[in-house]
Every structure is written in structure tokens, then in C-alpha cells.
């Protein structure tokens, strides 16, 4: 692993892709299988990652005619073996959570989870996965969590960064209750169900702008979880931001502390600094990075963030975040990386501790 030597590396974000709805068919019940086929339901990959966009796959990981990330052998060769990973957490971004029909959404999530268990987890014991849930309906979402929770290879609950409602809203609390009960962090991944314009200013023209502005949506989600009291109500709730970047953290800390000092009576259950809550309860994957150009600035940024044990190493396979054999920029301190590769993921994901 390039400039840092360690063993037992845990990759907290890799992306198996559903090759097409045909692959999921065996995992639907007869009714939904018939619906999927009869109505031609397919193509539910998020618009956030157009298959041919440069960001969606590293050029040397692409296989002509194959959707990036859809092949286990590719993940094994290019990531698990190449980087010497002991564990990798599969986050499958496929359509279920974005469907308008709650029932269809739940069926697709269920099929996706079944497919992940069978086609990936069963075929390489280095793999772990997140449970995808129909967040449109908390009751159905909890059903889906309960269905897979007995399988300890599912280590997290996965949601998109933008859904019908902000995540902290109390309608989502049954999900957090289930998450806490089963020791499953909530992983919030870049991407949107597009119930809202990607920015408060409306619909941008470019994918580039959406990727840049996703940082604001992540910040809004943290503020929502804090303000609504989700972290207060669920003391064991852990949240992981996947592909959020980190350079916006200091400013979020400063503003949220300042507003808390003036407006904390509005949210009196928030009885400590929002920054302290984030450092305690939220973790961040390290790809993609949005670091400053020079080392001195990186050091200053990290000092302002004020914690080196909130980061999780990730390759973001197959997305194109880096070239060559070292997923991490040399600007990050070795001690931070050492923690991010094993110690912090083990502390973040209780289920990894059970099975490592």
C-alpha cells in the first residue's frame, strides 16, 4: 500500500454494480418478477454515475461491454488483491430507494440485498455489505433491516444523501432504532433520489456541479440529524458519510457552533457543541478527497478538523479517484492513514469486529 505499510486493510466503500435487472430476477417473488418483466423495469442506475463518465470507472478497470463494477473477478483482481484488502464493504447503488412506489422500491431493495448476499458475499469471504432499504417508508425499511440483520456480513444500512425528507426527521427514527439495535451504522452515500433539486438554487446544468454541490447536501443531513435530536435519542447511532469529502468540515463546525450558541433553545436536546457530536458519532470515507494543493494547507485543514480518528480508508472502486497502486495521497499523515485503514473501521462497524 504505497507509502504506508499495514496489514488487515479494510476498504469501507466499494461498489458492486447490478449488471441489469435480469441479474436480480431470481431474487424477486413471483409477483414482482412478473411485474419487472411485464413492465420492462430496468436501468435503475443512479444518474449520478453515468456508466461512461470518466468519474464512474478508472480507465484501466474498464472492460469493454461490461458495466463498471459488475464483475466479481474485476473487484478481486483490481481492488481486493491489488491493494491487499482484508475486508471491503459493498455499497450497491441501485434503484430501490428512489422508486415512487414504496412496494416496488421495497421489492427491489430486497432483491438487491439477496443478490449481494448470494453473488458477492457468498463468493468471497473478504466482502461485507450494506443493507439497502426502501427509505420511502420506515416500516418497510425496518422490515428489510430485520430480514438481513441476522446475517452478520451485513455491517451497515445504506441510504442516499438525498431522499424525500431530510434524514433526521422523526419519520425516519424507526430506522435508527433498528440500526442501533443491530449495531449497524447508517451509511449516507453521495447520490440523490431526486425528490429535490440538487441545490437550494435549483437544477444545475452539469454533473460536475452536482458532484461539487453534494457537499452541501451532506452538511444539511448532518445538521438535520443533529437538530432533530437523532444522536440524542439514539446514543449508539453511528453515521458514516460515504464520498462526502472532508474539506468543508471546519466551516460546518464553526457555523453550527455559532448558530447553536444563539439558537440552541430551539433544539434544547442538543446539549453540546455540534462539532463535538460530529467528531464523536460521524465518520468519513477518504475517497474522493477535496484537499488543498499544498502540504501546509492540508496540515492546517486537518488541525482545524481536529481529529484523526474519524476517517475511513476507501478505494471507491471502480470509480476513478486515483491512478496507480496507492489510493491515498501522500499529503495525509501516516498515523491518520494507519488508523483509517483498520482501527477506525473496526471501531465504527461493530460487526466487522465480530468477523475479522
Amino acid at each position: 500500500m504505497g507509502h504506508i505499510a499495514t496489514t488487515g486493510i479494510i476498504d469501507s466503500d466499494v461498489h458492486p454494480a447490478v449488471p441489469g435487472m435480469r441479474a436480480l430476477l431470481p431474487y424477486f417473488d413471483p409477483h414482482w418478477r412478473e411485474v419487472i418483466e411485464a413492465r420492462g423495469v430496468d436501468g435503475l442506475d443512479l444518474a449520478y454515475y453515468p456508466p461512461n463518465a470518466p468519474v464512474s470507472a478508472r480507465p484501466d478497470w474498464r472492460v469493454p461491454g461490461q458495466k463498471p463494477g459488475s464483475d466479481l473477478a474485476g473487484l478481486q483482481t483490481n481492488a481486493l488483491d491489488a491493494f491487499g484488502l482484508s475486508r471491503a464493504i459493498c455499497n450497491c447503488l441501485y434503484g430501490g430507494p428512489a422508486m415512487y412506489s414504496e412496494d416496488l422500491g421495497a421489492a427491489i431493495c430486497r432483491a438487491t440485498n439477496g443478490w449481494i448476499a448470494e453473488e458477492w458475499l457468498n463468493r468471497d469471504d473478504r466482502l461485507r455489505a450494506s443493507i439497502v432499504i426502501p427509505i420511502q417508508n420506515a416500516e418497510l425499511a425496518v422490515d428489510e433491516i430485520e430480514r438481513w440483520a441476522p446475517d452478520k456480513r451485513f455491517v451497515q444500512i445504506l441510504v442516499l444523501a438525498s431522499n424525500e425528507a431530510l434524514l433526521g426527521r422523526r419519520q425516519n427514527w424507526p430506522i435508527f432504532r433498528a440500526a442501533e439495535k443491530h449495531g449497524l451504522p447508517i451509511g449516507i452515500h453521495a447520490g440523490s433520489a431526486m425528490r429535490h433539486a440538487p441545490t437550494a438554487n435549483g437544477w444545475p446544468s452539469t454533473l460536475y456541479e452536482e458532484h461539487v454541490s453534494m457537499a452541501q447536501t451532506f452538511q444539511s443531513q448532518l445538521l438535520s440529524l443533529i437538530a432533530e435530536g437523532a444522536f440524542t435519542k439514539f446514543p449508539d447511532l453511528r453515521v458514516v458519510l460515504l464520498e462526502s469529502g472532508i474539506s468543508w468540515l471546519p466551516n460546518l463546525f464553526w457555523r453550527s457552533i455559532k448558530m447553536w450558541r444563539g439558537m440552541r433553545k430551539e433544539i434544547p436536546w442538543v446539549d453540546r457543541s455540534p462539532a463535538a457530536i460530529v467528531r464523536d458519532r460521524v465518520r468519513f470515507t477518504l475517497q474522493p478527497l477535496d484537499l488543498p494543493p499544498d502540504q501546509n494547507q492540508v496540515d492546517q485543514l486537518l488541525e482545524q478538523i481536529g481529529s484523526d480518528d474519524i476517517f475511513l480508508f476507501s478505494t471507491d472502486y471502480p470509480h476513478w479517484r486515483f491512478d496507480g497502486g496507492d489510493p491515498m495521497p501522500s499529503a495525509l499523515p501516516k498515523e491518520l492513514l494507519r488508523k483509517a485503514m483498520r482501527e477506525t473501521p473496526l471501531a465504527t462497524y461493530p460487526r466487522l469486529r465480530e468477523t475479522v
Partner: protein, 370 residues
Amino acid sequence: MSTSTLVRAATPPAARLRLVDCDIHPTVRSMKDLHPFLSAQWREHLDSFGQRFRQAFGGATAYPKATPALARRDSWPADGSPPGSDLEMMQRQHLDANGIDRGMLFPLFPRALDERNIDCAHAVCAAINDWQVAEWTSKEPRLKATITVMAEDADGAVAEIERCAKNPAFAQVALVTRPIEPLGRKRYWRIYEAAAYHGLPLGLHNSGNNGHAVTGGGAPSFYFEEHQGVALSMQAMATSFVLEGVPQRIPDLKIVIVEGGFGWAAPLGWRMDSFFDRFRGEVPHLKMKPSEYLRRNFWWTTQPMEEPEQPEHLRAMIDWMGWDRIVFASDYPHWDSDDPRFAFKIRLNDQERQNIFAGNAEAIYGERLA
């Protein structure tokens, strides 16, 4: 030292520094104050139908603010009229007391930047512009006016800029910051060309409702969130300007981001630059790195002052963005306003103070501040 204890600025003994305040909010006592500047038709229209915004209530927001009228509690005139409506009090409490040499007016109450009725919006924007001159700048030469325009109809906005630009009382052009489409989109470019042609910076103060939730993830519950959401939306606004190529197309356009915070300026540049290689094919019109446009065409006001957990971190943040990029603003008389004596929790040297409190603003606005 704690994050927030008072640090009294070292005042240079010899020459008092000039002080330019880039955000002061004048207010009408009631809409009747605008009547002299409206036709009979629009007076009657407003009396009957009021203004139409993209919000639930005619006279209030569904996110109650921290204080009545958003105001600091010591800014109410004795007769109970709204804070910011009394020039004499503004002079006594703010301009004189704080030694303000130039103050940029930014009217928010009333505003028509995001009025839905296009004709009404243009009429009220024009009335607000005339009212600033008649009731404020002509009575108090330290104050400068802002040309407010409704951006969704670029023709009308350009016409209003043309109408006002000749008057040296006006120093900038204001648009809503949460428009129907992100401000970088082409439908708004004619407005920017007109502003740049007349040497008028854009002064973009967070404002307006476009009907979109204030976050990309939906509407939050609390003012604690909404207030920050609005600041976050200013980042999306700056991103839109840069990536759509506005400063590439209009290199001399000056964009002053008012009351949006400034601690995000450098990190946003890093983020755009970090992703640039992957997305370059989507933005072939960009000839420089995105951060270079931020560094060339954008400025930020200081208020609401960034308050790091460790005060000295502020210095790094300003180092990153550039000491020529920030200009002082008080936001008088709003509740989250800043006092020029106490806003900075770090010690500034004379040159830094001079730049932030006057020099940078004078460089942006030039003779419009004269």
C-alpha cells in the same frame, strides 16, 4: 483563550482607519413609504393583493427568525417603527458610533427580487431603488444604494440597470440568490453583461424563495438549520457561476457575496479543482482551474463572522482565500450583525485592517464609493 472572548482591536493612534460597511439594511415603516415611487395602478395592486412570494404566508416566513423583524433588540426606534427605518437612529447608533465612512444599503424589507408577478416585481424594484435615493442616500452621503432587480425576466432587469446606472448614488446590482434556476445559467447572463458594462459589481445578499427546499435533501425543521442552509446555498450559487463559465465569459464581472459566510471560499475552490480533471470534458468553456475564477472574480463580506473553535484558525482561512478577498460588513440592524470593533477574534495588523475595513471595498467599487 476561548473561542469567543472579546479582543479589543488595536486602534492606530495616528490616523483613524477608514471604514466601509458593505451591508446595511434600510427598511420601510410600511409599504406606504414606497407609494411616492409607484404608479396609482401598482399602489392599488399592492394594497389589494400584496406581494406574491413562493411561501406559505403573506406576511411571515414559516421559519420564525431568532428575533422580531430579524433585528438586534436594541435597534428598535422609540416610536416602535421597524429597525432600520429611521435614518437618524441609524446615524446615531451605527454610522456615527462605529465611524462608518461608507455604507452599502441593501434593502430586504421590502424586496421584490423574487416577486412572482413579473410586472409588479419590476415596478416594486424600481420603487425601492428610487426610495433608497430619495430617503437615504440624498439625505446621508455616507450611504450608497443598490440597484435591486428581478432576475427571472432579464429584459426588465437590464432596463432597470440602464435606468439607474447613470446615478452615482448606486454602487452595485442585486439579484436574488435563490432564483428559479442557478444564477450561472444563461438566462441571467444579459444582466451580468449590463452590470459589468456599467462597472457595477453584483452584490449578492442571501435572499429569496424559489420554491425549492433550502437544502438539496429537503426542507429542514428548524431555523438553526435553515439559517445555515441559506449559507450553504451561497456555495451552490458560486459553483454555478464558475462552472457555467460566467467569469470566463465576462472576465471583468465582480461578484460580492454578502452574508453568506466566507469560511467556505477556499475549500470550495479545492473541491472544484479536485474534481476538475474528471469533469473537464463537461465544461470545455473553462480555461482556468475553477479556483482561479473564484480568486479573480469573487469577494466575500465578513458577516456573519466566522468563529473557529481556535480563533487563530481564522487567519489560516483568510490566508487560503486571500486577504484581498474579504470586505467588512455589519448587517446592521439584524440580530446576527457584527460590531467592527469586536468582530475579529484575532489581532490584525494595520495593513490587514486597512484592507478588510476599507481598501478591498474601495478596490472593488472604485469611484462608485466616492
